[in-house]
């Protein structure tokens, strides 16, 4: 058989392309080997470890249904992996048992307002796929005080829960800035709330989520304002077991999918409309119309569509839990980078 040069080239190209394509396919299938993913699929249910109850992150509404930022993350993973955000088994875990339960394999992922730290990463052998809530020690003060920055709190008294790093943080801050913020110590948060309400202090401090919760227990929450700065830092996020990188990737990219949805302006309500005829290449890739990105996670191509459709983008979830429909806590650091926050999903290619 003799072929013309041109057609030989074409044939050669086709063979090369076929080999490459097949190779990539085989590569994708061979690398996405995740015991956790297999177990979840076999079980037909994601087992998600969450807090036993904390405003904003994980709480039950009056019908007993779990709600919250962490809870939504669990549902998003279930939507991506199993196709149904409702296929989640929530296990409420106390702070003492959470890491042991994760290590034992009883849960697939731990999303429990847990601080991501060096020791937990390296010494507990756990992996930290993403940060779903940036926070730090936050202050809430009486509006009538007319204070708008932490530095202006010189001479004020703040109610603090004792036995935490909160007190020492304030002492350090005082020394560093040569000011004097007074503290009044309490054993339990409820007692501190009551003292704040009674006017024994000018304000209250704790991590961002807790201060937001404190504010909403006040008789008149609008009399209280959050100060924009935080002292100290607390990046909170999910934990998975080390040694299952494919599962790590799924958790990480599910978080990024919720952010990317917000970047692209996709919401629960408009995503079906947007999916009909997307022209924007970023949108086409994200929605799986173009390319095979899902395969590289061991998922189908609709996974990110389902995350937004069934759970919503990060901004929507934030609004419902911490934002205006929830605790009234400003987005701040948790805003997209384009709005002055720290949330920047990795690019979608």
């Amino acid at each position: 058989m003799r072929l013309k040069f041109g057609s030989r080239l074409t044939l050669g190209g086709a063979i090369v392309a076929a080999t490459l394509g097949f190779g990539a396919q085989a590569y994708a299938q061979s690398t996405v080997k995740s015991p956790t993913l297999d177990a979840v699929k076999k079980r037909g249910q994601l087992s998600c470890g969450i807090d036993t109850g904390i405003p904003g992150y994980a709480y039950q509404d009056s019908t007993g249904r779990w709600q919250g930022l962490d809870v939504a993350f669990c549902r998003a993973i279930a939507a991506a992996v199993l196709g149904d955000a409702e296929k989640v088994k929530f296990t409420g875990l106390t702070s003492k048992v959470r890491f042991t339960v994760l290590a034992s394999g009883e849960i697939d992922v731990l999303i429990r307002d847990s601080e991501l730290t060096f020791a937990r990463n390296t010494q507990l052998g756990l992996a930290e796929p993403a940060v779903n809530f940036f926070t730090g020690q936050t202050f809430m003060v009486r509006k009538s005080l007319g204070v708008s920055h932490v530095k202006e709190l010189n001479g004020a008294t703040i109610c603090v829960e004792t036995g935490t790093t909160l007190e020492t943080n304030i002492a350090d801050y005082n020394r560093a800035n040569n000011i004097k913020i007074g503290t009044l110590l309490f054993e339990r948060p409820e007692e501190a709330f009551a003292a704040v309400e009674a006017g024994r202090c000018d304000g209250y401090t704790d991590d961002g989520g807790s201060v937001a919760a404190a504010r909403s227990t006040m008789k008149n929450p609008n009399d209280w304002v959050f100060l924009p700065e935080t002292i100290g830092r607390e990046p909170l996020g999910p934990y998975v077991r080390q040694g299952d990188e494919a599962w790590f990737n799924i958790v990480k990219w599910t978080h990024f999918a919720m952010l990317e949805g917000e970047v692209l302006g996709l919401t629960r309500d408009n995503i079906d409309e947007a999916k009909k005829n997307p022209t924007n290449p970023d949108l086409r890739k994200f929605l799986g119309v173009e390319g095979d990105l899902g395969k590289f996670l061991g998922l189908d191509n609709d996974w990110s569509y389902r995350v937004i459709k069934q759970v919503g983008n990060y901004g929507e979830v934030y609004e419902a839990t911490f934002g205006s429909k929830g605790l009234g806590f400003p987005r701040g650091m948790n805003n997209l980078w384009t709005n002055g926050g720290l949330m920047m999903p990795y690019p979608w290619y």
């Binding site: 405003p55 296990t91 339960v101 034992s104």
Partner: protein, 374 residues
């Protein structure tokens, strides 16, 4: 004491009226029980002053200024208790996250429990032993199928969805039903003449009595999965119940052993001399007499156990107290801890008081049977 006001001072001495006699009885009771010494009189008065100060405030908070109707926190005035919260959450407090469309199954199971327990616990029921046997065998089987489901017509309900008071009752029943027989066996084991059985029984009892319940629950919830092959899990609730059964069996064993020792050795010897076999001696002579001593201990353990069921919140199960705790975290209902805890306290008090009241009446009947005062 309205009787006091009805006394007619002009009444002739000879005809002391019934109200007057009742008044005297009252005064006598007061003198005997509350004012029998200067120290007691002082304590009585101090308690009265304390109650006079506190009770009106509590009444005011819980009743006069409380709000019950409405469907959001804004319906509450903020001066008194916000019972709206408890009213709206009642299904969650009772059934946990058990799906609303399936909650009738819990109601049926509890009705069955009452239906089996009442004949088993009442005096004078025909075939009472049979009822007790049914309560411990047939009932758990039927109730188990009802609650767990997974058979045609009854969809499967994962135990992670169980919660509220239902969970307390389920755990308490299973623990009682499991620990009592095991406790009797251990009590006999500890009195056995066979050194092997005796040693094992003593070791078991002392091991479980020597460890705090919280530790046992932690072990069951956290450490057990680490020892199991990867992926193999035992249901959380089953683990917690298993731990509670073993723990309480040790206490039951000591209660039963105390009762067995309280029966004179002559009773056993007399039974033997009548030619009764060991089994007959125990079931016809020793155990019935031991019951009188055992029952208060069993009731005491049961009351303790019922309250201990709240400890399962530590291992991530959400019983009544856990459900209350969780509900307090809902941003729409923050700051209602007093109402939630007051409700849980009342429910637990009613349940525990009912148990101890039954125990007291049981003792009174036994005492009457013995011709003695309790």
């Amino acid at each position: 004491m309205s009787e006091a006001g009805s006394i007619n001072p002009a009444a002739p001495d000879a005809g002391v009226t019934a109200p007057a006699r009742s008044f005297e009885r009252w005064m006598g009771w007061l003198r005997r029980n509350l004012f029998d010494s200067p120290a007691n009189s002082f304590l009585t008065l101090a308690a009265a002053v304390f109650l006079a100060l506190v009770l009106p405030a509590v009444w005011n908070w819980a009743v006069t200024q409380a709000d019950l109707w409405g469907d959001s926190k804004s319906a509450c005035g903020g001066q008194g208790a916000c019972w709206v919260f408890v009213r709206l959450r009642l299904p969650v407090f009772i059934f946990g996250q058990y799906p609303p469309s399936e909650q009738w199954r819990v109601v049926v199971a509890v009705s069955l429990l009452i239906g089996f327990a009442v004949p088993a616990l009442r005096d004078g029921t025909a075939h009472r032993g049979l009822w007790v046997a049914l309560l411990l065998t047939l009932f758990p089987l039927v109730a188990g199928v009802l609650l767990v489901g997974g058979v045609p017509g009854l969809p499967f309900i994962d135990t992670t969805l169980w919660g509220g008071l239902t969970l307390d009752v389920v755990i308490a029943f299973v623990t009682m039903a499991g620990s009592l027989p095991l406790g009797v066996l251990l009590a006999y084991g500890r009195r056995s003449r066979l050194a092997g059985i005796r040693t094992v029984s003593i070791a078991f009892i002392e091991l479980w009595r020597g460890v705090p319940l919280l530790t046992v629950l932690f072990m069951a919830a956290v450490l057990l999965p680490l020892f199991l092959p990867n992926g193999a899990t035992v249901d959380r609730l089953v683990r917690a119940m298993g731990a509670l059964v073993l723990f309480n069996a040790a206490y039951m064993a000591e209660v039963v052993r105390g009762g067995l020792q309280g029966v004179d050795a002559e009773q056993e010897e007399a039974a033997q001399s009548l030619g009764l076999a060991w089994w007959q001696t125990q079931t016809l002579v020793v155990l019935p007499q031991a019951m009188r001593i055992i029952v208060p201990g069993i009731i005491n353990t049961a009351v303790d156990l019922f309250k201990d069921t709240t400890l399962v919140t530590i291992v991530g199960l959400s019983d009544l107290l856990g459900a209350v705790n969780q509900s307090l975290k809902d941003p729409a209902w923050l700051g209602l801890a007093p109402e939630g805890y007051a409700f849980a306290a009342v429910v637990f008090f009613v349940c525990c008081f009912a148990m101890s009241a039954y125990g007291r009446s049981f003792e009174r009947r036994l005492a009457r049977g013995q011709g003695r005062q309790p």
